[in-house]
Symmetry: C2
Subunit: 272 residues, 2 copies
């Protein structure tokens, strides 16, 4: 009977922890749920920790203190990250993705949940040392990616709008120049969206000259927040330098040949 | 030793299954991963099934046939769904959410990952009998909600844009009249986004007169898809009837008093 119950607790706890990455669950939460002693729950957690580590599925962290407890931090084995980024590069290089003007059609991938789930985890893994309080993006195509990154960090997402919206109350607006087309555009953020001094990580799907990212940096500063980093799924190799200095790209787009239908896009790997 | 290994397999399998709801994993996938016999994996799955059921965390379904295997279908106990919807209603009724014009500021909740994760699961639970092939929404605020619904169904999300975008290739455009303001707007969908005859479930954050939902229905028909249902997080009680006939709302907004700062919003519960 005891064997079954440990199995039950371990399975249920794994599900609950994995369901909300990085959220700290108090041990007493599990004690109550299973009617078990704290020492029992600690043993169960040790088991889960070992298993997750063994299969490269994640880390269980114990957080001390009054607000302490345990949390699940998903990890991806380097080989899996590499395989995923290679796979994305391969799909983005499909000839029929090339749109007049040398653009790549990416929406189908950007709106596929299990892919963005993984990409969000990769961003968290590579950028967690920046300790952001919020994830920031601008509508539209980058939202799912930024949202899943926010989910991996267990942080809220803030979405800037193009133009200001009547249903969001008073907002701060800035004008910015898109790097690629040299067009002036407006971006806005509700005043209440970010508290003063918040550390913000910008996540977007695509960067060419970096004008949009530059605009987001300015907008964040305008509302008193501090940008601690920038991550994009795809950055073009040219123009270089970009309008922002420091950013992490997961894929580099070297070239799109409209005529020959050849796209040269490569993953940025951390392994040798 | 065997005890530990069963625990390990159960914990790892739970994580892998829960990570991708509704996706069918073949048994041989797990046999390879753990170097275990099919009968062993089947026993493990029976354990997980029992535990998930016992704690109301989800259902493990076995799918027969060549493309068969097992999948995890998250469930939420009715009491938890009710608690979540009550909690959302309460937060939406906070006086400082009322914006000039009688709008409610909802963006902070709509962009909070763990909330939308749950709301997505509620939509799946209440609408899965419609068997959609795609989830459809329109930019911007409804995207995270629709994306998490798509994740719960393990389906791709299709996002209509306001106006047509140069980076999405040739698209189908329609004009529609917003029910509330009687303004004519344009909505577009890339031609390649939906295959002919696809069953589409529309998900959005807010419905007043239903003009946007009506526009999405027309747009879907224009590209040859069939709308099988509509789900919105909040619908206003008035005007009634809406411009679409059949929809599911999780919360009903009866009234927003700008002057007294009182908002009357109630959850739609399935329990008595």
């Amino acid at each position: 009977m005891d064997k079954v119950r440990k199995l039950d607790r371990v399975a249920a706890m794994t599900k609950i922890l994995a369901d909300r990455p990085r959220y700290i669950f108090s041990l007493s939460h599990f004690c109550e749920l299973f009617g078990a002693a704290k020492s029992t729950i600690c043993e169960d957690i040790a088991t889960i920790k070992e298993t997750m580590g063994h299969f490269g599925l994640g880390i269980i962290e114990t957080v001390a203190g009054a607000a302490g407890g345990v949390r699940f931090v998903p990890t991806m084995p380097v080989a899996e990250t590499d395989r995923l980024l290679h796979g994305l590069a391969q799909r983005l290089a499909e000839p029929d993705r090339i749109i007049a003007g040398g653009f790549l059609y990416m929406s189908d991938l950007l709106f596929t949940p299990h892919l963005m789930n993984k990409v969000g985890e990769i961003f968290r893994e590579r950028l967690c040392h920046l300790s952001p309080d919020y994830i920031l993006t601008v509508e539209t195509k980058g939202i799912p990616l930024a949202f899943m990154t926010a989910r991996a960090f267990d942080l809220p997402l803030i979405t800037a709008r193009r133009g200001s919206k009547v249903t969001e109350g008073s907002s701060v607006n800035i004008n910015y120049v898109t790097g690629s087309f040299k067009r002036i555009q407006t971006m806005s953020l509700p005043k209440r969206a970010l508290p003063d001094g918040a550390r913000v990580l910008i996540i977007d799907d695509f960067m060419k000259a970096g004008g949009t990212a530059r605009g987001l940096v300015d907008l964040a500063q305008e509302v008193g927040a501090k940008v601690c980093g920038i991550g994009v799924l795809v950055a073009t190799a040219r123009p270089e330098p970009k309008l922002v200095e420091d950013y992490l790209a997961l894929l580099i787009l070297n070239d799109v040949h409209e005529h020959t239908k050849v796209t040269d896009i490569r993953p940025v790997l951390t392994s040798g």
